[in-house]
């Protein structure tokens, strides 16, 4: 399924830029008219021409502002589309993804922001840069067909210059975004690992590494900018030379000094009009050149976002499991890219508690992740109800307690409610107490409104586990996937949680990965992976 957003056309903003060019033609006409009137000394006429000039420049101001605002609307639409495509990839990232978390976040925020200038300015300007010069040449033709021909003739080097610069720049822009992503990845990772870094006194080394990464971003960005500025300079140079060419032609025509027989004889008004139009002829292309960096970065960002959006094609919504399912693993191999674990074959009977035991590092967690589609089964297959239910139907309809308990900033109740957002306060409190959080709720004096931060600071290992159990209880699903639910707990607490799981899990399919013999002994049967 391809859920990548369609390309945005940006026609409306381009129309505003064309209107701006039309006003520029009018402005040039009034100015040259005014200059032609001055020798005659007709103040009334002169005033009219000058008022016309001012009016048209006011209109230009409005058109330019309109182009910017309408372009911004279009860019907002494009960004919203890419967010819809890319956020699922971030929210269902495979634990232990190849990329660092900070890189993914940089893509989902910064790269989508990079699309702003591309859609708001570059794309409309590109449309305008084709049509506006033709319009101006057409307007210049009645006054001086030769000057109009000169203008059109200089278009060719522009096109060539743009094409040449484009191919050289795209690779540099890709590398720039890679370096930026890496920098974000390092910042996020090293801040997360700050306690360890500080504990080992490794601040200097980490600081040097980060300084290097910031330098790399600066160097790569400068490399991309150099290409953008160079192509901008080439544009400007051609524009200036072409304007000078028109100026010299007009001047020599007026002096009647042309080395070739002139097909036309210009008046001062006509010459000035053409001369004023010449810079306007190149203005759209110069504006385009100024937005060139936004093109480079925007296109490279689109590439990264397309890769991210494809990875995150969201699963279709499914209906809840009707009853506790039976699971069957058939020669399942979990593929981590470099390392593979398996093959594993075993049955998980419906409505029973099954414990998986295996030496550390054998891939118990990966098997549970595979049930959620978070780890790729490289070979083999996992059957739910003998294939009557698709594996993709499980996410969203299971109880889950993983090795690490994820906490989001918010209250204790918010964190438990993640499992079922429509649960009432009473329901949340009830499961919290059933999971054994009662003493903590009473002791802290804030009840369920206790605020937790991103690290869950102030929670003990056992309290985190109990939050995860409370979520499982709140979800009340027919299938539970539990990964070491009693890790980090003392024997008494572990026994307590084991008893809760045993009692509450009765009649459900419970798949439990654990090293704890005491916990495994509670299961109806055990699978040992070797």
């Amino acid at each position: 399924m391809n859920n990548l957003p369609k390309a945005v056309k940006n026609r409306k903003a381009a129309l505003f830029w064309l209107a701006d060019a039309a006003c520029a033609i009018g402005g040039a006409a009034f100015l040259s008219l005014a200059v032609s009137i001055i020798p005659q000394g007709d103040i009334g006429f002169l005033s009219l021409a000058v008022i016309g000039l001012c009016t048209l420049y006011a209109a230009r101001a409005l058109m330019q502002a309109g182009a910017a605002v309408v372009g911004q609307y279009d860019a907002d639409g494009a960004r919203a589309g890419w967010r819809r495509a890319c956020y699922p990839a971030l929210l269902s990232a495979v634990p232990g993804d190849r990329r660092m978390l900070g890189e993914a976040v940089a893509d989902a925020v910064d790269r989508i922001e990079d699309l702003d200038g591309y859609h708001a300015r570059f794309l409309p300007l590109r449309l305008a840069a084709v049509a506006a010069p033709l319009m101006i040449a057409l307007a210049a033709a009645p006054a001086s067909p030769v000057a109009a021909a000169i203008l059109l003739g200089t278009l060719l080097p522009f096109g060539l210059g743009m094409a040449l610069a484009g191919t050289a720049a795209s690779r540099a822009a890709r590398r720039q975004l890679e370096a930026l992503g890496r920098l974000s990845g390092l910042f996020v990772d090293r801040v997360r690992a700050l306690p360890v870094i500080v504990g080992f006194g490794a601040q200097d080394r980490v600081s040097r590494q980060l300084e290097q990464a910031t330098r790399e971003v600066a160097d790569r960005t400068l490399g991309v900018l150099r290409v953008a500025f160079l192509s901008g300079a080439v544009m400007e140079f051609f524009a200036a030379l072409s304007v000078a060419l028109v100026a010299v032609y007009c001047g020599f025509n007026l002096l009647d000094l042309l080395p070739f027989p002139a097909p036309e004889r210009l008046t001062l008004g006509q010459a000035l009009y053409v001369l004023l139009l010449a810079p306007e002829f190149y203005l759209p292309m110069r504006r385009l050149a100024a937005a060139y960096h936004e093109k480079q970065v925007g296109e490279a960002a689109l590439e990264r976002l397309a890769a991210m959006g494809q990875a995150g094609a969201s699963a279709p919504a499914s209906s809840p499991l009707p009853r506790p399912p039976a699971l069957r693993f058939e020669a399942v191999v979990v593929d981590h890219g470099e390392a593979r674990v398996g093959p594993f074959s075993f049955d998980v009977p419906a409505g029973r508690m099954t414990a998986i035991r295996a030496p550390s590092g054998m891939g118990k967690s990966s098997l549970l992740h595979a049930l959620l589609g978070l780890a790729r089964p490289g070979e083999g297959r996992i059957m739910v109800e003998d294939g009557a239910v698709a594996l993709a139907a499980l996410p969203g309809h299971v109880g889950w307690a993983g090795q690490a308990v994820a906490l989001v900033p918010g209250t204790l109740a918010d964190n438990i409610r993640l499992a079922r957002p429509d649960a009432s306060d009473a329901e949340v409190e009830a499961v919290a107490r059933r999971a054994g959080l009662g003493p903590m709720i009473d002791a802290r004096g804030q009840g369920l409104t206790l605020r937790l931060d991103h690290r869950g600071s102030g929670l003990s290992g056992g309290e985190r586990r109990r939050i995860a159990i409370a979520r499982v209880l709140l979800k009340d699903a027919p299938l539970w996937l539990l990964d070491e639910p009693t890790a980090d707990l003392d024997a008494a607490s572990a026994a307590d949680i084991g008893a809760i799981l045993r009692a509450e899990g009765r009649g459900r399919t419970v798949l439990l990965a654990t090293h704890s013999e005491a916990l495994a002994a509670l299961a109806d049967h055990q699978v040992v992976l070797t």
């Binding site: 000039l53 420049y57 504990g199 971003v217 140079f237 100026a247 020599f252 989001v408």
Partner: protein, 538 residues
Amino acid sequence: MNKADPETLLARAIAPQRPAVRAGMLCAAVAAVAGVCLLGLSGWFITGAALAGLGGVLVAQSYNYMLPSALIRLLAILRTASRYGERYYSHKAALLALATVRARLFDAILAARDARAWSAGEAVAGLVQDIGALEDRLVRKPALPAALAGGGAGLALTLLAGPWAALALLAILILLPWAALRLSPPMLNRPAAELAGALGRLKTDMIGYAQASPEIVAYGMAPALQQALEAEARTADRARLRLARGEALIGGLLTLGGGVAMAAALLLSDGPLPLRVLAALASAGAVESLGALVRGIMRDAVVGAGLERLRALAAQGEAGPASMAVEGLAGETLELPTPSGPLLLKAGERLAIIGPSGSGKTRLAEGLAGIRPQEGGGIRIDGHALADLPPDQVRALFALSPQEGGLLSGTVLDNLRLARPGIPEAEMWEALEAASLAQEVRAMPDGLNQWLGDGGMRLSGGQRKRLSIARALLAGRRWLVLDEPSEGLDAATEARLMRGLDGWLRRTGAGLILITHRPAPLALCERRFDLGAAASGN
């Protein structure tokens, strides 16, 4: 003043880039003068040529057209080259300076007293996005010289056509930046701050959620969370739209000003026609050269919002009062407070700390490792209260393997190297052997260079723990602090790990503080302290 104040950091970072800044300014001034002269000269040339042409062949022949036309070409080249130089040098100075600011601000984060207080999302939003917003201020440094040079050249040329035209231009040149200065803050400051805030929150939320991906998938929370994130993103979009609208309106004044300036020059100038045309076009050029200055004034809103957020970030990183270092602190004795009087440990002794969940075992371990500030408390090292010692000195005595492992996104090698600089490879293997992980690392396709995924999540829970223990061993500290070292291990691996640790401790003579509630690790320790009993005894 705070060392990490962003303005100070910025000033310090830009100092070494001064030559590039100056080159950028010079180029900008040259480009502005060349631009104004180019426009004015072209108009004068054509008008002059027309009048000469009207005067007949003789006058036309004597009209000097060679010099102006050559001058026009020269000015065109000059403007192009100097415009490129301006952009290149000012961006170079800005980017290199910002790289330094990023590194120094990260240093401030590293130096914070409470290492656990930082949110990765807030930090990365500040270090990447808010510092990026400062780029505008640095890049636009040449805007003022460009505006002065361009305006000055325009005024000089207009003056040729009489004082009134020049006076009108001067008024417009003053009025436009003044209007931008007056209009920008009320129109742009709020949206700029909202934009930066919304993007920062978006990043923080995303990082929080992304770490919970198994829960999100298991409970099907993705659509709800996505909606929440998109709502935040829309807040950013709305703010940006208001920003764009304000900037477009203020920018429109500049366009309008150009038209009015030309009109005023035509109406108010006197003298010969070529000079009046020159005055009109030079006026337009002078107004155009204000462009960068006016845009810079508008971008100040974004820069200000970035600075404001960075100030908050830097304030969070206050290092706290510095404590006096104690000469010769070696960690020979360690004193822990208990209800029945202090518990005294001598170097090389091994203590197991037990107690039910929630009795504060981890808090104690983090306090010892110097990563959680101690308030009072009775822990003493060599007779000095830990709370009074500089954190660096405390940290140099203890090597912690935290409960959650605390691995870097990187390779096995990256993680082990964190322990101390210049560890020989043989020693790494010894430590991996002691931590009972060597065999598994050898079996990895890339061995020590195996990429472990984000936060080491490609390893199993037990493997992460053992790698973190191997790293703590390599630090070579007086005391080893292990928080639940055998959690997530099967019994056989746990037994091997304990034998390996025992051997390592014997060889190095390091002391051990071990936090556990499993029976096997207890055998490693000759002494035991029950934190739960201590708490209930209170």
